[in-house]
Amino acid sequence: MTQSVVVQVGQCGNQVGCRFWDLALREHCHVNKKGLYDEALGSFFRNVDSRKGDETACGVGGRIQNLKARAVLVDMEEGVVNELLHGPLHDIFDSTQLLTDVSGSGNNWAVGHMTYGSAYREQIVQKLRRAAEHCDCLQCFFLIHSMGGGTGSGLGTRVLSLLEEEFPEVCRIVTSIYPSVEDDVITSPYNSVLAMRELTEHADCVLPVENQSLVDIVTKIQHMSHGGKPGLMIKRDSSIISGQGVLVGAERPFDAMNNIVANLLLNITSSARFEGSLNMDLNEIPMNLVPFPRLHYLVPSLTPLYTLADVYIPTRRLNQMFSDAFSKDHQLIRADPKRSLYMACALMVRGNVQVSDLRRNIERLRPSLPFVSWNQEGWKTGLCSVSPVGHSHSLLALANNTCVKPTFMDLRERFNRLYRKKAHLHHYLHVEGMEQSCFSEAITSLSSLIEEYHHLDVNKGTLMHDTPRLSICR
């Protein structure tokens, strides 16, 4: 079995990360009744015997002693991480996994990327190496960060290129939280665009998540649970938004939103943690979903999101789950993949679902989904037999789809609005190592990315003929 290491950077990264750890523990608790440290647990947790000190990890098969998250926590502020250390999750981290500073990055990408990036480079690398040494087969790094701030965006993307340098073989999957239009960070467009360039160049896959979509989903769920239509009731024990993990009780702002992202991570890693009749390893994600190296933004959608009380018959509900994965209000960015062009699509299914269910639904949905001419059957599927807590089945769809283009264009537009006035620019330019060219190169990179998606879009309508085949002389 392989292991993965989660690297959470900045306030957002750490807050989302902690929801992930909480829910992951809850999931394993639910499945692992014997209290033994199994391989599934081993993929994200170490089992250490605290009496013998940190270095003596216990092997698979023994009793659970003391679980430690395979994680590296980085923040240039102390607040969030400190809160963590005093909270219920403190047991699963130890101080050697943490790196904090006191002064923060002031929502300035340059401070995070350049200043802290250079100052803490050695320490970060050392912590990453240490986490890697604890794994006997390290498959994947999950980087969690936000695009809008300074630390997650700036230092987070610096960590990304360190990962590439130090561990070129290990897959890098990044979960990036994109700011909403009304974001309180004024410089978030700068930070996001500067970060985008790094993501485009150094990540294997990026799972973009927009805060606005999370807000929309949470609002809708709350509306439904406070007596929307009669007969529709939200199951309270569903882990999708309610914060009832194993350890953390009371909910804080962002928790409901972050739970959704945590569920995305739970689902994407489920096949690497549990068995199934069609396994989907993490390295199969970029292999199947990334036809061209730069176009690696995979739009996630999650179902069931709005867990309704059971009023439907079973197969209708299952089919509904598949339909929902393609509807606008289940996407984690504001986009409509059905109206754009698919390059590839993965369906990661959990629970009691068979190949025939998959086949039937793919056949049913295919006609309504536009796929690029050379990948008309661009489906990747995985079946994991362990369903999420409180559900009989679930589905995570990852779409490599040109529908990310409007999000990126919107971001460019917001960037340009600031950049034209040179607003706040001096805060960046006086940071050592930061130059005006960083801005122009970042915006060029984003524009050419948009152009690449656009190119695919415009050729969408034109009916492509089969390429003439090789002819054989006999």
């Binding site: 390295n283 292999m287 199947n288 190949v355 990948n375 661009g378 089969d466 054989i472």
Partner: protein
């Protein structure tokens, strides 16, 4: 004689246990002692404690599937896998043929060869080797191809059969057509014969003949295992003089794959029905064979929905295009009959020269194996292994899709990363176009 089976990747390791399961229960409950003994010698060896151990080597680049298969076998109570005849790593090949073929294969060559050697040395008389895998993933296809190549070097004189599972057309793996093209092009140079099951076809059998509502991979695998079993279990040919213990692989190859341009074999079996209905059904040989013959010439893998309008033409009058003809021309056929009254059964319908190419006489092109022992609960059953145009259409589709993708160079960077170049792809495309051309020219 004995054969050694290699199970590679998830697919190979999931089908394998079902195959050995059927083989063991069939041999155990078979009434004829010589049949049972021949079957056991062929597929199992016995330990000092009398355990039945499969002559199999299990290989995967990740541990989960092998673990399950070993447990499944052990739980059967009738047979198991050898304690030390499996090899797994921690991380799969990520659906990348190049990763399997260029990295994992060479890296683990020695361990795997050693496992195979040990299994081969347990055989008093080696009939040959069979490697089972899918073509769509990375391990079965890539490592499987590499290992087949190693086996070819080490066991130059032995028969090597590859059993391949072809993916659902709307895939589970997006790069499946690339992986399939690379696998098939390479295996065509290495293997003596390539026996193919298409997941789409088997899935259809599950739904239409077996009436299974929620079809799982284990349902699909049981059908594949049943068909494989009915080919591989002992039987008698015209010149075997009542001796069950012949070389199944050798005879399969010599009757069906005598020409290096033509190595693709497909299988169909009749009858297939829910096990609850078997006891209430009776069959006549003429009825079964009439259906089976029409399944052959109209190229349907099931007795349901056969096109009865397809008739044989004399060779000179056949329409000559890939899409135009619905008549499936054979190069060679092997008919295997099992159960009651097999020796008095009339099989003349398969000897009709109009079924075959003009350049082989139907005497050479058609063979039968018979066995009076009923197979796997069916009182009478017939299986046809056919080297014909049956796989031409799916092969052509597969190559066409891969070629379209290749034209835009999508995903190629993932292969280049592990050392497969665009030229390698082109070579594979070329050699499969050759195969397509050859099969097209049968008619």
């Amino acid at each position: 004689m004995s054969m050694v089976t290699l199970q590679l990747g998830q697919c190979g390791n999931q089908i394998g246990p079902d195959l050995f399961g059927i083989l063991s229960s069939d041999a155990l409950h078979g009434p004829r002692r010589s049949y049972g003994a021949a079957s056991r010698e062929r597929f199992f060896h016995s330990t000092a404690h009398g355990d039945l151990v499969a002559r199999a080597v299990l290989i995967d680049m990740e541990p989960k599937v092998i673990k399950q298969s070993m447990a499944k076998a052990a739980a059967s109570g009738t047979w198991r896998y050898g304690d030390a005849s499996h090899f797994s790593q921690k991380q799969g090949s990520g659906n990348n043929w190049a990763n399997g073929y260029c990295v994992h294969g060479p890296r683990h060559r020695e361990v795997v060869e050693e496992l195979v050697r040990r299994e081969v040395e347990r055989c008093d008389r080696l009939a040959g080797l069979m490697a089972m895998m899918s073509v769509a993933g990375g391990t079965g296809s890539g490592v499987g191809t590499y290992i087949t190549q190693c086996l070819r070097d080490t066991y130059a004189k032995s028969f090597i059969l590859n059993h391949l599972t072809w993916p659902y057309r709307t895939g589970e793996v997006i790069v499946q057509n690339y992986n399939s093209v690379l696998t098939l092009a390479h295996l065509y140079q290495l293997s003596d014969a390539i026996l193919v099951h298409e997941n789409d076809m088997v899935h259809k059998i599950c739904s239409q003949l077996l009436n299974i509502k929620h079809i799982s991979f284990s349902d699909v695998n049981r059908v594949i295992a049943h068909q494989m079993g009915s080919v591989l279990q002992p039987s008698l040919s015209a010149d075997s003089h009542g001796d069950y213990s012949r070389n199944p692989l050798g005879e399969l190859v010599s009757t069906l794959a005598c020409h290096p341009e033509y190595k693709l074999l497909s299988v169909c079996t009749i009858p297939q029905m829910p096990s609850s209905s078997i006891a209430y059904s009776t069959f006549s040989w003429p009825g079964l064979l009439k259906h089976l013959r029409q399944m052959l010439i109209s190229n349907s893998k099931m007795e349901e929905g056969i096109d009865w309008h397809v008739h044989p033409h004399v060779a000179s009058e056949r329409p000559r295009s890939l899409t135009g003809t619905s008549f499936n021309v054979s190069l060679a056929n092997l008919l295997i009959l099992r159960g009651k009254d097999v020796f008095s059964t009339e099989t003349g319908g398969f000897e009709d020269p109009a079924l075959y190419t003009s350049w082989l006489s139907s005497k050479e092109a058609f063979n039968t194996w018979k066995c009076p022992v009923p197979f796997n609960k069916y009182e009478k059953s017939a299986t046809l292994v056919s080297n014909s145009q049956a796989l031409l259409r799916p092969l052509d589709t597969m190559v066409g899709k891969a070629w379209n993708m290749f034209a835009s160079r999508a995903y190629i960077h993932q292969y280049i990363k592990f050392g497969i170049s665009e030229e390698d792809f082109l070579e594979s495309f070329t050699s499969l176009e050759q195969v397509i051309a050859s099969y097209t020219q049968l008619s």
